[in-house]
């Protein structure tokens, strides 16, 4: 049966995979189920991700790390690469939400970036454990590093401490979302508003401590 013959692309595959992950969890994502959702035989996916599920996972990690939120809708940015470190790289700018905010003071810029990053991680929280063991290179990554580096330099940190401060801020954002997701469904879980308030509280403390 020549059922389907068009429409498949890396981006469509990734987006559909994220739908499945959001609905049934990471463990609920199988190549066969993904094929069904795309109205295609599972094996068709291998034409776009020749190295299979591992490559798809890397691409999803790159996509999550690189996607941006536009007027309430989450969408990707250009054709994401597979991010498996073998020649391709993902497209898309990491910290889009801070565009055009160059004249704000350093701590304000970092706060905007951190809150945007947190929101993105939260939007794809089902894929969070994918980020645990993968840090695929994306082109937006460079922009992020530049942004953070400039801000922390402006804050007066020494050359040695700037990269450490960048790592610290990244770690806090990732860890905060992980901590929140981890406690979802427990009886001591906090609601979304308090989670955001808690994140801001810690972020403010962190930036205060880093600049001292």
């Amino acid at each position: 049966m020549s059922r389907n013959y068009a429409g498949l692309s890396r981006e469509r595959i990734i987006v559909e995979a994220l739908h499945i992950i959001a609905g049934r969890g990471l463990g609920g994502l199988s190549m066969r189920r993904l094929g069904d959702a795309l109205d295609v035989e599972a094996m068709a996916i291998y034409h776009h991700f020749p190295k299979g599920k591992e490559q798809l996972f890397n691409a999803i990690a790159a996509y999550v790390t690189t996607a941006r939120v536009v007027s309430g809708l989450t969408e990707g940015q250009g054709p994401p690469g597979d991010g498996d470190g073998e020649g391709e790289e993902a497209t898309g700018a990491h910290p889009v939400a801070v565009a055009g905010a160059d004249d704000l003071p350093w701590d304000r810029r970092l706060t905007l970036w951190a809150e945007a990053y947190r929101e993105r991680l939260l939007a794809y929280s089902g894929a969070l454990s994918l980020l645990m063991h993968r840090a695929p290179h994306t082109v937006g990554e460079e922009d992020t590093r530049a942004l953070l580096h400039a801000a922390f330099t402006e804050a007066g940190l020494s050359e040695d401490d700037v990269p450490r401060a960048c790592d610290t801020l990244n770690a806090y954002c990732l860890g905060s979302v992980a901590h929140q997701v981890r406690h979802e469904g427990r009886e001591d879980a906090v609601d979304a508003a308090e989670a955001l308030a808690g994140f801001r509280f810690g972020l403010r403390a962190l930036l205060t401590g880093l600049s001292g």
Copy 2:
């Protein structure tokens, strides 16, 4: 063939599972492979974890969160429960490394706890993504909360801010290890010494900012 007939226990299963995870990654852990490693038919595991792999994962998460380091050797503490919120709970004290340090100043106590927690997470980094979506209740958890709560109260935080500070510190520790593991194998990865230095740098900043 009545090959094997003794020795299986929840703890032995978990420890062996962690061996496999350390060697072949989380994806390399299968019930059949775990059975082989335990010299037992895979189905024997279901007698100790009747709800299957998901329950085993919960137990591993509880174990990792609850294990302690004794004179260089990492070992579990008593028979860990399955942590799936259906009546059982894990044994073991969370923050053992800080035992007998009650007379130190609050920031010293928190630093000791954080460094011990980080070390434990790092020792079981292969199971890190298991902690992403699971926060099983352990008995040691209560002790940890008490320890952190007392320290942050002593630091002068308001009643509203103390739990937020606890969450922040937890998030930072988890995120820091995740961030490090995530970048392992990348060309911009730092070595173990610098990773520790970076962790301490961020921790100091965090505690400074929280007490301000």
